[in-house]
Each structure stands twice: as C-alpha cells, then as structure tokens.
Amino acid sequence: MYRYDEFDQEFVDQRIAQFSDQVRRRLKGELNEDQFKPLRLMNGVYLQLHAYMLRVCVPYGTLNSRQMRKLAHIARTYDRGYGHFTTRQNIQFNWPKLSDVPAILKELAEVEMHAIQTSGNCIRNTTADHLAGAADDEIADPRPYAEIIRQWSSLHPEFTFLPRKFKFAITGAPHDRAAIQVHDIGMQIVRSEAGDLGFKVYVGGGQGRTPLVAKLVRDFLPEEDLIAYSEAILRVYNRYGRRDNKYKARIKILVHETGIDELRGDIEAEFEKIRHGVLQLPADEVRRIETYFALPPLDPAATSARFDAKSAGNPAFAAWAERNVHPHKVTGHASVTISLKPIGGVPGDASAEQMEAVADIAETFSFDELRVSHEQNLILPHVRLDDLDKVHDALVAADLAEGNAGLITDIIACPGLDYCALANARSIPIAQEISERFGNAERQRAIGDLKIKISGCINACGHHHVGHIGILGVEKKGEELYQLTLGGSADETTSIGAIIGRGFAGDRIVDAVETVVETYLKLRANDNETFLAAYRRVGDAPFKEALYGTA
C-alpha cells in the first residue's frame, strides 16, 4: 500500500497547522463565517442538520488495519461511536465538534490520512474498483494510476478553483465495478494490440440534476500520457466550463453542449502542446509506485479442501460465500465483501467495535488490507479460501455476516433528510423498510441480482440514476414524495434510469418497489434473466401497467 513520502507528510502537516490556526481564529471571532466556510470546506468540514460533519478521504478506497482502528478511535472519542462509509469510498463522521476537528486531523495524520479535497471545486478523491489488485478479470491494478493522479492533483495551483468539483474514477478490468461512465473523467485500463498498457478515456459523465453518461474521448491513451492528457482535459474545462450557472458548471454540460467531437479537438490540441513535456510519466516512476501496491505474498499452491468441506457441511456459510466471495487472480484465494447492509440496518454505517473487528480480521486473514466499495461495503481483498470459514465466524460475531452482496437488500442510500442539510426527503428509513420487506434469504436469492439506490435529493449522492431501481426523494407540498426510476446501470453497460411515472408517498413507495419486483418475477424469461436484462428486453410498459393500471 502507498506510504507517504516526506513531501506528502510535510504537506499534510502544514495543512493541519494552517487549518488548526484558522479554526482557532474562527472560534475567537477573528474570521467570520463567510471567510471561514470556504476554508473549512477545503478541509472536509460541512455543517449539516444536527452538527458539523467531517469527511475523511480514503484514497481510492484502500486502507490498512491501523487506519481502520484509527477511524474507530475517532468515532468513539470525538463522535457518537460510528461512521458512515460513502459512495465516494470515503468515511463521514456525523457529530464532531468544530473545536475538536484540529485534534481529529492530527490523529488522522498519524496514520497517513486526511480530509483534504473532500469538498470544494477541486479534484476529489479518485475512486477505483474495490477489487483492484485482486480481481481475476483485471488487466492491471488501477490504484498506482489513481495515486499518480492524487499526487498530480493535490493542491494543483491551476485546478484549485475549478468551475465545479471534479471526480475521476478508474478501473483495471473490463467489467466496470467503479461506475467510471458517470464520472467527470473515467479511465479504463486496456492493452493495445502491441501489448502496451494504456487507457480508454471517458469524459463528461455525471449524475445530479442532469444525469449524463460519459462520452468516449480516446480509445487508447498510452500510460506515459495519463497526466498530460488529464491536464489537457482540465485545462479545456477550466477555460470553457461555465461559471455563470452552478447547475451548468460540470464538465458534463460542456461535453454535451459543445459536442464530444469539437471538444476532443480542443483537448487533443492542448495535449499536443504538453505531451512531451514535464508531465510525461517516466516508466520507472510508474513501476516504483506500483511496488507500493504489489500483491502480498500469496501462496499459489493454496488449496481449497477445507473450504469445500466447510461449504458442504454448513449451509449458512455456503450461502454467504456464494454471494460475498469473489474470484481472485491467485488460485486458492478470494476477495470478500463485508456487507454493511444488515437486514433493516443503515447502509454504510459501521460502529467503532465493528471497525475494530474488521481491522482484526484484515490483519489476520487479508494481509492487513481493506477496501471501501462505492456500494458502501467493506472488502477483504486477499483471503485464502481455506480461511474463509474463520473469516465468516469472525464476521458473524461482529454482526457483519449478511450474505447479500449484489442482492436487493444491498442498497445504496445517501444520508438524506435525517442528516443532510440539502435533503428534500429521507433515504435511510426507506432503505431499511425495503430491506425488511425483502429480507428473507430465500426471497432475495430468488429475485437475484438487483441494485436499488436511493438519494434524498437531486444531487444524487445515492446514485439513484444508475440503480436498476432508483428512488429519488423530493418534497411536494411539505410532504416526502419518492420518484421511481427503472433501468439504470453503472457498469460497462451504463444507462440512466427512466422515471416510470408519478411519485409515491413515503408510506407507498416500498409497496411500489414490491410491485415492480413481483412484475419482474412474473415476466422474466427464466430464473437467470436478471431484473436489468428483463427490463431492457420488455421496457417500461408492464411495470407502468402494474403500478398505475392501464387507464
């Protein structure tokens, strides 16, 4: 895993000193809120409904046990004993005191963590496939490139005041688990016919008020040009992106208003000017950074005899493994999803005790490595198959053994009106009710792969636009109302869900979801046809009819 060099540590330490002083001056009244607000946002501090909120960056979703223990310690010492993992692979604390934030940041820096660039109109944390470095379908680990992007974009003087925030996502596998096509820039690692590593580059995707799927801007970008090309895109955006209207300021609007062909021309022209300059990546530097992400010493001769025996003898274990265990590139190993979606629970929340349990499990069974997924779960990337039953036992003891990865109860939900100052409606209670309704293990398995995603306002932090079933909370005449969208997807076949019809009141929306699911079960071609495939085959009509009648 990446370790800070002296520049990183100095930068973080300086920033803490600077922000601590700003907090002190704010509390003494030497800075007013107008002066202070942009400063606190640059350091990840929001003011929400009940309290301040601190968003801590988990670079590309990778962390180790020591860092997870520190997060647990912060939750317990400065917060209310829990944290919330987000769709940006970060963690949020919901109750810190502003006066405690300097101390929290100091504690985070001890384990090479920070909250810089988790807010504001800058380049945010690059998100990556949560199975990076482990997945069997991977061409190369995307995290070294995410780290290179982090180094280039941290405090980049030209890109600190962009028209709007800017998000990168990167995947190293053809099966996209990182939702790259709904990011400002999405990168997919590919190999050229000659066998060279490079990227397919997508630009202008995003959710929010105007959901748009990214356009392919380049088929193959050589590895050495990763930063030069990114800089070219950012420069074109910085020059032409709209600053007159917040809602039209993201690069997606520029891409879709200008047209990808014209914009590609601008980007390529800018790229030509800088590609052979200082931004060209030296191959040996890339290889050096890769060593930080090297596979741990896995034993390729590891067997699975114990795993097979345990699976045969323990149906609960076998059922969990069937959903939450993923193929690994080294035989005899697997990656494990630790579900943060207990039936009826709060998606993405983990208590301090659970974080510590997970840290212990990772230390013992996964070479000290953990990941946060954008689906708000945790991942043990490198586990021996023959250790899985022990991992499962430990997860059961920590109340973390829900075997529902990718099923209907594995719901993404944003904090919504229970916490968020921007919200129109609650998200979490809807997620809980859906989870209860479909919580029966057999029922969820019969339904199969189905992603429900819920946002409490059009900002779409809950990714509702790309949910197979998406739910958007709005406020109408002072009441919560929920809009249903169907057919969204965030993988390599990305699509934006379509609104099916008029919205549903809070006490009707879960029934509506059930109607959609029951309709799907009746019309699917066979048990293996997923909800998304069935929807794409038959379209809206049967669902509309079931929900609203034929009138």
Binding site: E33, L49, H50, A51, R80, L98, S99, V346, D418
Partner: protein, 107 residues
C-alpha cells in the same frame, strides 16, 4: 387551521449543536425553551438578536421557521425542522431525543 407562529433557530458555532433563540437573547438546546414569536414585531426583534449573535460568533446558519402550538409545546411545520429538533428518525439514541429519553429514564 392552526395558527402559525415562528421561532429563530441556528447551529452553535463551536460544536454545531442545534439551538433556538430563547428568552432574553439566550440560545437554548431544546425547542421547548424557544421563544415563540407571534407577530411581525417579535420576529423582527428576534432576527435582530440573532444577527447580533452571528456577528458575535456565537451561532451560524440562522433561520426563522414556522411552528404550530401543540399542547404546551410547539411543533415545526417542516419535517426538516422536526428532525433538527429531535435527531435522526431511525435512531432515537442520537440527537436531542436521546437526551430527552435519558432525562426521562433518570427521572
């Protein structure tokens, strides 16, 4: 229809705690202690007091909200403000409602 009254609310600067303007310009931590504003003059005076508190760096994010009287207390009209007054709806161990239930358990 119930008469709508108003309250002035904010978050305390140092810790973010939700507070309401009470009597004599004090900021209180529970909605029951808030000064209920029944006419325009009262609202104006309260907003002026709140503006002074902002200038004095006691509170941030001031807002004037609608409430209705219910029994001896008041209830905000908007769900958002009801949630601010109580805490997350799915976890009664958090926010003001937790303190309220702790207090009643102790009593």
């Amino acid at each position: 229809m119930k008469t709508i009254c108003k309250l002035v609310t904010a978050n305390r600067l140092a810790d973010g705690e939700v507070v309401w303007l009470g009597a004599h310009g004090a900021w209180v931590e529970t909605i029951d202690g808030a000064l209920v504003l029944e006419d325009a003059a009262a609202v104006e005076a309260a907003e002026a007091a709140a503006a002074r508190a902002v200038a004095a760096n006691e509170v941030v994010d001031v807002g004037t909200i609608d409430v209705t009287r219910q029994g001896s207390g008041v209830v905000p009209v908007r769900l958002r403000e009801r949630i601010r007054a109580a805490g997350p709806t799915f976890r009664t161990d958090l926010g003001k409602q937790a303190q309220a239930s702790r207090a009643s358990n102790a009593a």
